[in-house]
Amino acid sequence: MRVPISWLSDYVAVEMPLADLVTRLSVSSAEVTGIERRGVPDSDGNLGLFRVGRVLEAAKHPGADRLQLCQVDVGEGDARQIVCGAWNFGAGATVAVALPGAVLPNGLTLEQRTVRGQLSDGMILAEDELDVGTDHSGIIVLPEAEPGTPLDDVLPLVDDVLLVEPTGNRPDLLAVYGLAREVAALFGLELAAPPGQDPEQAPDEPVGIEIEDEEGCPRYVARLFYDVAVGPSPVWLRARLFAAGLRPISNAVDVTNYVMAALGNPLHAFDYTTLHEGRVVVRRANAGETLRTLDGVERLLDPADLLIADADRAVALAGIMGGEETEIADSTTEVLLEAANFEPTGIFRTSERLRLRTEGSNRWEKGVDPHLAGQAATLATQLLVETAGARWVGHSDVQGAMPDRPVIRYRPECADEVIGISTSPADQVALLTGLGFDRQGDDVIAPTWRARDVVREIDVVEEIARLRMDEVPFTLPERRAMFGALTRVQRLQRRVEDALAGLGLVETYTPSLRDADADPGAWRLPEPISVELAVLRTRVLPSLIDAVRRNLEIGGAVRIALFEIAHVYLPSNDLPDERTHVAGIVEGGWPRVKGVVDALYAALNAEPQFTRTEDQLLHPGKAASFGAGVVGELYPGLIDGVWGAFEFDLARLAEEAPDEVKFEDVISYPPVREDLAFSVSEEVTAGELVDAAREAVGSELREMRPFDVFRGEQVGSGRKSIAFSVVFQSAERTLTDDDAGELRARIVDAFARRYGAELRGG
């Protein structure tokens, strides 16, 4: 919402520094996102060089067919000669004049000059040259005023426009008058009466209004005008609309926009002669009904849409946009003015469905005060009479159940409790009164324009809180219970992050939504914003493969290694099963990626168990599953070169990682170390042998690490030799050579029995 200070000043005296105004409004009322300074530079008496002038003589320039030579009285006694390119005026016109030396809004300084042999001692101004509009088709013709009057008295030559963005609960601030009311309350100033005065003689002729849906339209004020002379609005009105960001069109339309900006009640004007039988019916659309709106679009309506119709057909989409067939044209002389009230939800739904948002719908969907319609009709009437010479001939005000002002039981101590600062009951009443609230006994009565927003005690407390916001101290809660700590899984996640980063992997984040997922049951958005962000992933690894490819395209990175920790979304009935996955990808083959997983487990004091597995992203011969997930060489060709990858479930890792680490006595008694090599058939894995040894020996087998595997003639075909470094150690006694021999024999026996393994060199 653009609020020109010059307009705001009609309703409240804006004399405080602009910065104070902006800060107070931002803190207590509505965000001010900017201030726009517009118009003529206000320095060194520049404004004094802009005057009202009267054209005394105007004739064709003797040396140029397209120019006029004018004598203009600017209140100096002698007239000034000014050459002008516009023809929309003649002798007697009151015009806006800039004198030589004047600096125009575009920064240029006007100088006395000679045009085709004739002195031009000033400039007659058009709207765009003063930055009060965009029109350059002719110069500004002012209403009658004394020549020499400072132009600033007639037009806002310099203005500041506040860019105000009220929140959705404050549609009352989407109006210059509403904002003025807020400013008056914040600064303790006098607020002018609402603008608009009905002519003394009101017509008694009714207008035919039928409201079929009082819920959707609680009120409809219709006023009928004859003898309307449609034409451009006066320059002051055009300038105000322009500054407020609304495009001037014609007086009849401009008046509706002006009233909307001034009071916050959107209006609509119909060409009365186009309404069949002169009737207005407010109803829901019929199935299959269509309406061609002002923007030229033929719209198929839904039975939920609220319409303005005449005797036969839809003529407007209530509150959102008028129809093309009934709009005001240059030839219009009879105008039916609508000052209605529409219920927000329906307007919101229709505007959503049609994807059609307008200044009107934006206000209605937030809830406009139904009591406002009367004042809006009054201001519009005054302006139509003044600016279009209209004659007011008919009037109707059809009302359904108008909402009462909310009566709220209010305890002032409640504000102190919630806010944490004391405000005396008397001070609270003073603050509330300034905002239009009344105090009656134990109750507070909210004003009509806040009736949707302030209905509970806590809502009244908010009014006090926002006005005292800057005075509220900074304290901390008085704690009685609760201690802060990460959960076990959260701590584990940090350890995993640190371990992987420590192993040289760079953490990355990739979108949880992808173009596709290997799981046909993956959750898919019916209306994605792009094909790339459409399906919730069930694995993280494919995103990391993409990230590696991007880095390879960029080039320059060596030994790429990435990891990510993120949710995956596994298909499930009501809601997807969201698991936290850890995935990584490293340049290099199986040994490197296996080393990463081994090191990660070691960092967590856990021992993984690996078994061969298959995974569509991994090399079929170099893929393993372990307790929490899978690890392997990336399937050849997915990315150029040899890559390793892993992906596992964090919660499952947490099940494997020991809760607590217990000291083992490795100091009191010496270990016995020996290397043992066994020949076994190819299909036996080192892991199986280690498991079997542990089972056979028990806790006195402290360590058994495979350190060499070889195949060759000595071992025989179909067999391999695996060498282990073995450590026997007891926590209770010194192991003798005989003890160690006995333990070794258990291993040899077990291996021979279960795997047909032979101890080599034994």
């Binding site: 919630v418 008085e478 760079v506 960029i554």
Partner: protein
């Protein structure tokens, strides 16, 4: 033989030796088996002479040992002095990992709240309309319920639009007092630009206890903003509107670029918007069966990308989602 003369002659020879070989020569000459001293010792017949000569032998042996150590030390020093590297050359090239800036920021946020006694929650990202909107008291017409703002799977299920559903989960999870901060991904149908991505991270705080006041919210966010941005920052609150808080406010932190004077970063206001906050609306308490007369609380939410962008001063968040190592290895 004159013991004293021999001794002084030998000591000077030992002292003069500057290499191990010279010292050895001196040792053989004065202490060797055929040395004058050795011969004399062999011939000693009286106790007095024996003690005297033995004293000389001990003195010479000590001197040789000391001299040997000195020569060896000098040689080590000489060798080391020649073994010089260019210390500016890089060391062995090890792989260096990095944590993503969002992770680093997340941890700072968590640590600030843990210090205040909060627990940390990570909740689900696919939510029901019930948790994402209804229980948080969003009006039927609230724009966030629009398909233009929110990712819907169907009429009942959405990608959460903020971390606020965690408030409901926390309140349903147990009786107050509750002090929690929820962190995670959120989703909105935002067009992608330098400061918007349809997926983003938020942290959401909730404190529910006896007699919690708006002043406590102000103090808590002041603490957290200073923990994140430094002890000199100021915090102000502007009135705002959110469905699930009343009163509602937006916190601003003073601009770190200009110190509050006004600059391009803060759009010449001196303040940076940091999110939303307010006192928990009684309707939310009623929706989860907590007595609003017995308990009160505050809640707030803030974008983590926003915090990270201000902390690390990056102009565009899009590269944070692309795994671009040129970007990620900076953090």
């Amino acid at each position: 033989v004159d013991a004293e003369t021999l001794k002084s002659e030998a000591l000077s020879a030992i002292a003069a030796a500057s290499t191990a070989a010279e010292l050895d020569q001196a040792r053989v000459r004065y202490l060797g088996r055929k040395s004058e001293l050795a011969l004399a010792l062999r011939e000693v017949r009286d106790r007095e002479t024996g003690m005297l000569l033995n004293g000389v032998r001990v003195a010479l042996e000590t001197a040789v040992a000391q001299r040997r150590e000195a020569i060896e030390q000098a040689e080590v020093a000489r060798t080391l002095a020649e073994d010089v590297v260019d210390v500016t050359l890089p060391g062995e090239e090890l792989d260096v990992g990095h944590l993503h800036p969002i992770t680093q920021t997340r941890r700072e946020i968590e640590d600030a709240f843990i210090g205040l006694g909060y627990e940390v929650r990570y909740d689900r990202e696919v939510e029901t309309v019930d948790y994402n909107f209804d229980k948080l008291a969003f009006d039927a017409w609230h724009p966030a319920r629009s398909h233009r703002a929110t990712f819907f799977f169907d009429s009942q299920r959405v990608l959460r639009t903020e971390t606020s559903p965690s408030q409901i989960h926390a309140l349903e999870g147990r009786e107050p007092p509750i002090y929690m901060v929820s962190i995670g991904r959120c989703y909105r149908r935002d067009a992608i630009d330098a400061t918007h991505f349809p997926i983003f991270h938020q942290f959401e705080g909730l404190a529910v206890d006896r007699h919690i006041a708006l002043a406590d919210l102000k103090g808590t966010l002041l603490h957290v903003m200073r923990a994140l941005f430094g002890p000199d920052r100021r915090v102000r609150f502007r009135t705002h509107y959110f469905p699930f808080t009343e009163p509602s406010m937006e916190p601003d932190v003073s601009c770190g670029i200009c110190g509050g004077e006004g600059c391009r970063t803060c759009r010449f206001s001196g303040w940076l918007e940091m999110g939303g906050s307010g006192m928990v609306d009684p309707r939310v308490f009623e929706n989860v069966g907590v007595d609003p007369d017995a308990w009160s609380g505050f809640a707030f939410g803030c974008g983590i990308e926003r915090v990270a962008q201000l902390k690390y001063d990056f102009p565009d968040i899009r590269p944070l989602w692309e795994g671009d190592l040129r970007v990620l290895t900076q953090f």
